[in-house]
């Protein structure tokens, strides 16, 4: 029998497959299609202190093997999340990871400690959203600020596991992962979307109203895999890998490159059953290869 459970800090996931933030709503939206109990965790859309309306449309456009999005972090805000969204997720036997976003260190601290108090299993620091100019993106590419932020949040948490979501727009992602690790992050997740543009040549307008959007989907998979590989060689904390994972084979590539768990984003839009199909696919792969635990696979790339 092969075991699919993995450990992210003090958090135990029954399977290594979680949803990617912003691609799975608040869990409800996909609960009709799949059994949420099978997921290692549900990672919800980024939450801010106050509700946010998001960016004007068009917010997405399709690109070769990918899509750009600039949702602008539209979300219901902390209060409504705790009152209306969290209770639903709590009815499932799966972990809840809340992606948070702030404009200042204080925002992040308030968000983190409220969610910690509310007993969410983990907090994912979104310091890498390309769609809001101030705040987020700045922490994600500034070495000092990132360290300070992670340390402060870690300090403020009683129970929740801390995951830092890294920005891919740096020349050495391993370095940023290490900063997060040194500052006390229990895990890192990567990659967030990569900033991109598409242009309508007839109107000469950007296809996304906000001009720049974040690229996700299969197109970015090779880049994401490389960053997971580079990060694995630099840190000892677990990695949640994501970026263009469409099927079990893709997920296994991430695990072999060094990911302890994988997150599924854009693929949900194409096939809402992707997460559970990946769990089943990993399970058959392990049986077929006579592997008993995922640890045997994680980071097992033969790089000779």
């Amino acid at each position: 029998m092969s075991r699919l459970d993995v450990q992210i800090g003090s958090m135990h996931l029954k399977t290594p497959v979680v949803s990617a933030s912003g691609c799975f709503g608040y869990g409800e939206e996909y609960s009709e299609f799949i059994d949420l109990n099978r997921l290692g965790a549900v990672v919800v859309k980024g939450i801010s202190l106050k509700p946010m309306h998001g960016n004007p449309p068009p917010r997405i456009c399709e690109t070769p093997c990918g899509m750009l999005n600039s949702i602008g972090l539209q979300n219901v805000g902390l209060k409504v999340f705790l009152k209306e969204k969290l209770p639903f997720l709590r009815t499932f036997d799966t972990k809840v990871i809340v992606n948070i976003f702030g404009n200042s260190m204080k925002d992040y601290e308030k968000l983190a400690s409220s969610l910690d108090d509310a007993g969410v299993d983990a907090i994912e620091l979104n310091v890498s959203c390309p769609n809001v100019r101030k705040g987020g993106i700045w922490f994600g590419t500034d070495r000092k600020m990132l360290g300070k932020l992670v340390a402060a949040i870690k300090e403020s948490l009683q129970h929740s596991v801390l995951i830092t979501k890294l920005s891919p727009t740096v020349s050495d992602i391993g370095e940023f992962a290490q900063i997060a690790e040194d500052a006390g992050s229990d895990a890192v997740s990567l990659i967030n979307t990569i900033p991109g543009i598409a242009i309508d040549i007839n109107t000469r307008k950007p296809k996304i109203r906000n001009i720049i959007g974040g690229l996700s989907g299969p197109a970015i998979k090779p880049i994401a895999l490389r960053m997971v590989y580079e990060t694995y060689r630099r840190v000892t904390i677990p990695i949640i890998g994501m970026g263009g994972i469409m099927n079990a084979s893709d997920a296994l590539e991430f695990i072999i490159a060094g990911a302890t768990a994988v997150a599924i984003g854009t693929a949900n839009f194409i096939n809402p059953l992707t997460t559970v199909e990946i769990i089943d696919g990993i399970s058959s792969f392990m049986k077929q290869k006579n592997l008993t635990a995922l640890d045997d696979l994680t980071g097992s790339l033969h790089a000779g």
Partner: protein, 270 residues
């Protein structure tokens, strides 16, 4: 029973060079779509094109449903080339249907171009009830006219080039209808519209001026179709009490995929 399924294409007919009718199977015991609802269909093999495409229910069939689609870009071009027997992945039915007219209401149904796809089944569902205004660029872009004539209480066609029906837009037809049939405005009217955004805007304005309950079907670029990704934003008017927690001045958005695609015209912030 699942709203995500593999459908088999049972027919894919050319209506003219740019418009096609595709018939697909849906699983037994699956809910049939209601007028105004839509499906998302996977047009590609491999990951390019990646996203599913949205198409309104055109008409239910005993074994599935039909869509009427126009060739727009890469996805629809690939769909055109699919032969009967091909399998495609489908999500749906999705979204909110048109609210049905009450017994006492008279429907005005307005379709511009391929917008017919969305309202056709609504007209068929309430035979001899609706005043139908249907316009397109030219006569060869007006489809299923005979069926509509049977289904509607009155069918008024118009074309930009005058090749079929009146020369002009559906809005011209609408103005003419109410001026020649003035008593119509005293009936309890309910208006439904699908077509280009400019037309929807004018229909909404018309509804407001004449105080007619008006429902319009919107389009937006979509990724998930189920309310999870927040791609398909349409700006709506704020209700005072809801506005509080948000920052001033920012628009409020609803999701075309789950709050729509049918919206009360009065709610949309143009």
């Amino acid at each position: 029973m699942s709203r995500y399924f593999t459908a088999t294409i049972t027919a894919n007919l050319s209506l003219n060079s740019r418009h096609f009718l595709m018939e697909l199977t849906s699983p037994k015991n699956e809910n049939q779509a209601l007028p105004g609802q839509f499906y998302m269909i996977g047009a590609g093999r491999g990951y390019d094109p990646l996203l599913k495409r949205a198409f309104s229910l055109f008409r239910n069939t005993p074994d599935g449903f039909q869509i009427l689609y126009r060739i727009q870009g890469r996805g629809t071009a690939l769909m055109r080339d699919m032969k009967a027997g091909t399998s495609v992945e489908v999500l749906g039915p999705l979204g909110r249907p048109y609210p049905e007219p009450s017994k006492k209401q008279t429907s005005l149904v307005i379709a511009g171009g391929v917008g017919i796809a969305s309202v056709f089944s609504l007209v068929e569902k309430f035979p001899k009830q609706a005043y139908m205004l249907y316009g397109a660029r030219s006569g060869e872009d007006l489809f299923y006219v005979a069926e509509l004539r049977d289904a509607a209480r009155a069918l008024i066609l118009s074309t930009d080039d005058g090749s079929l029906g009146k020369k002009g837009t559906v809005m011209d037809s609408l103005q003419e209808l109410v001026s020649t049939h003035a008593p119509l405005l005293n009936e309890r009217l309910i208006m439904y519209a699908c077509g280009p955004e400019q037309m929807l805007r004018e229909v909404s304005h018309f509804g407001m001026v004449h105080n007619i309950q008006t429902y319009i079907s919107f389009e937006a670029h979509m990724a998930c179709g189920v309310g999870a990704c927040l791609s398909c934003a349409v700006a709506v008017k704020k209700k005072k009490r809801k506005q509080k927690s948000y920052q001033d001045g920012e628009p409020l958005y609803k999701k075309v995929c789950t709050d729509g695609p049918v919206f009360d015209a009065g709610d949309v912030a143009w």
